[in-house]
Structure formats: structure tokens, C-alpha cells
Amino acid sequence: MVEILPNFKLVRPKTVEQAVAMLARSESAKLCAGGTDLIVNMRHGLSDVHTLVEISQINEMQELDLDDDRLRIGAGVTLNELARSNEIAKSFPAIHQACVAIASPNHRNCATVGGNLCLDTRCLFYNQSHWWRKSNDYCLKYRGTICHVAPKGNRCRAAFAGDLAPALIACRADIEITGPQGKRVIALKDFYREDGADHLKLNSDEIVTAVSVKSTAQNSAYKKITVRGALDFPLAGVAVVCNQTPDDGRSFSIAITGTNSSPVVIDVPELKKDDNRQDFFSALGNLVKKSVSPQRTTTIAAHYRRLSIAAITVRLAKTLSDEGSK
């Protein structure tokens, strides 16, 4: 049952600069943070790694700062550290709720924020042992030529199922990426692309070093649909941020995970004070149903994921807009 890991050279840089140099130097080098996604995939023979750049000793990536201006979370901060921050739980409920919904506390002791944002996409035909995939002629994402989910298509539909990304995107987070040319900062929503086999806009010699959001406290929530209460990736998950507008309307920022190869941002119009709430929320539900495209990448039917994520989005948006008026 235990699948032996392939041979690789393990290097453990102490600084971001060293890590970037190590990535640039060796071909097929790969970053390993907590390893709770990567090592599982390596045990399944899903990665050709010659040099494993293990980054848990880089102190500069483990800082968690909240000042008047921004909340900045180092990519090396573990999920349990993030979960322990009372300020974050209070001011950014969606981020906290997403964090504690990831895997289990045993994983969260070493799983990191960076690893969660860079999580590989998932599919029923991909997250399997080597012999299982081999007997199925592999697939487009790795080693094969066709996609078993959409055989007529020409791209992989594997789903991005990280929990933190939608919460951070709904908070309009920026991501800091460091490479040989230095640091670049982009909106987190622009970090992903809709291609299950190549979903991150990250070069092979770049490292995600931090993620940051404006430190204005907000009314927000995260909820995911799973088969089990813990240890389970989202079949779909949604983060909703709801703010009161000056004329007592509501503005929403909504992002969804688990349904597409990248997180999906839902562009929601403002709920004006005099709008008919029922019409507004039923339109929101329809908009979500139209915006997401879950595929046959899980054992649970795609149709169920579409309907339930729309229902949960509406439920969260309603609850938060009511709370705002208290």
C-alpha cells in the first residue's frame, strides 16, 4: 500500500533569495512547504521532482502582521497559526472560517497559507495511485492524452479546491511573488487561470512569499459543501463579504472554489435600499448557477454542486445583509 517516494535531492534554504536561486539552478525543482498536498501526490507518482526545495525554515515567510493599513500573511504561516489569531477571527471571519475548515488539525500544524493558495487542482481521475491511473491510460493532466471527464475537450477540467483563496479573493487580497527579478504584487484573483493542468500564473523559479488585504474589518463568511465534516476538500465553497453602502444599501464581494479550475469571482450588483430583496437574491442565485461550471471531477454529481453552491451563496448573502442592518 505504501508507495515509496521517488528519489530526489532535498534542499532546505534559510532565505527567500536562496530558495529562488535553488529553483532557478535545478531543472524540475519543486517547492515543498507543509507537504500535505505535495507529498501525497508524490506518493501517487504525480510529480517528477529532482530537487525538492523545502521552505519551512525560511523565517521571513512566517510573519503575520496586522497594522492599521494592511493584514499581511507570510506564505509560510501555518494554518493553525492563522487559525489561532483572534484578531483575524474577529475582523476577517471568512478567512478564519475557511482556514479551520481545511483538512484536519493534524494537517494544519504544518500546512501553510502558500501551499493552500498553490494547491494542485483535483480530479477523480487524477488523485489516484499510479497503478490506478496507469490502468486507465493516465489522462491529459499528467502523462496521458485524453481527458476522461470531457473527452472531446482539449483542456483539463480538474477543479481548484483550496479553501483560503475564495475567502482572500472576496477580501480583495493581493499576492506577493518573488523571483530572480525581485518582487511583484498582483491581485490574487488574477493569479489563477482556467486550466486544470496549468492553473497558476507562477514561473518555475518564483515563490509566493505573502498575501495581504486591507485591514478594514468586514462582515464576511465562508461555507463549503463536503461529504464529511472534516478531512474533506470542498465539493464547492463560497466566501461572501458584505458591506453597508452610505445610502444603506449593500455591496457584495463573492468568490467560489471547487467548481472550476480556478476560483470564480461573481460580479454582483449593489443591493439598493429600495430594491425588492426577493428578486435580488433570486437573481443572485441564478447568476451563481450560470457563473460556475462544475464537471464530473468528483463522485458527487456536478449538478448537485451547482445547485447547492447557488443556494449557499444566497443564504450567506442574505444573512450577512441582515446582520449589517443591526
Binding site: N7, T36, R43, H44, S104, N106, G229, A230
Partner: protein
Amino acid sequence: MKQIISATINGTSCQDAIDDNLLLIDYLRKNKTLTGTKSGCDGGECGACTVLVNGQPRLSCITLAATCQNAEIETIEGESNNGRLSALQRAFHENLGTQCGFCTPGMIMAASGLLRDNPNPNDGEIRAALAGNLCRCTGYVKIIKSVRAAIGTSS
């Protein structure tokens, strides 16, 4: 590639030359013949392999041994003291928290990690802390009861 790892396992310091790709579970079970730690799944899904690394529960089946350099590792073999069961072990035994016993080493190590952080957890906290440890036999109720029974009992 090989490297030398120095670590403390259940209070005994050791130094070993190990392969870069050696998993902590294989280091413990094969190199150190500490077979109390169990392997229950393909990797990362069941919690049977839970050990403590620097006091925190970690899944040894997805941890590289070489990343435990200078760490303090604790396994189920370190729980008993001079042949006497620890409070958790005794509580699991007396409250039928263990049946086939396969999940028990992981359960006890995860529970031990919890009690160090939070010596007086409520049921919700016990459940949350053991959420990553699966059991095929007990139905969990007796496991929660066992941890509750161990609270406040000295070993």
C-alpha cells in the same frame, strides 16, 4: 542523496544516515523498529500514523524524516512510563476506546497533543482535535469518553 539526521525520539537522542526521500513513518517503523505507529492509508487521510513532532500532532506518512532535524519526536512507545500505562492509555483501555487498536496509537498521540495545549477541553474541542483520526470500530463515542476520562488524571 543521504543526510545525517539528529533527533530525539521518546527522549533518546539518535543520529542516523537517512535517504532524502525517507518518510518519517518508515524511519520510525523500519530504521528504529518502533512499529507502534501505524500506516492506514495511501497518505494523509486517516491519522493512524499521527506522532508528535515538537509537541504537535503530525502525520508521519506525509512528513519527510530529514525535515525533523533536531526535532523532538514522540510515538506511542513513549507514552507508558516504566511499564505503567499513561493516563490516556489507561483511559482508552478502561473505557473501551480501543477495539482492534489500529487507530489507537494515532488517536492517543493526537489526544496527547491536545491535552498539552488545552488541559481541560470540552467535548467539542476533543472532537475537533481528533477530526483527522479515523476509526473503523468504536463509532468514536467511546474514544471521546476515553479522552474525557483521562482529563485531570495524572499518569
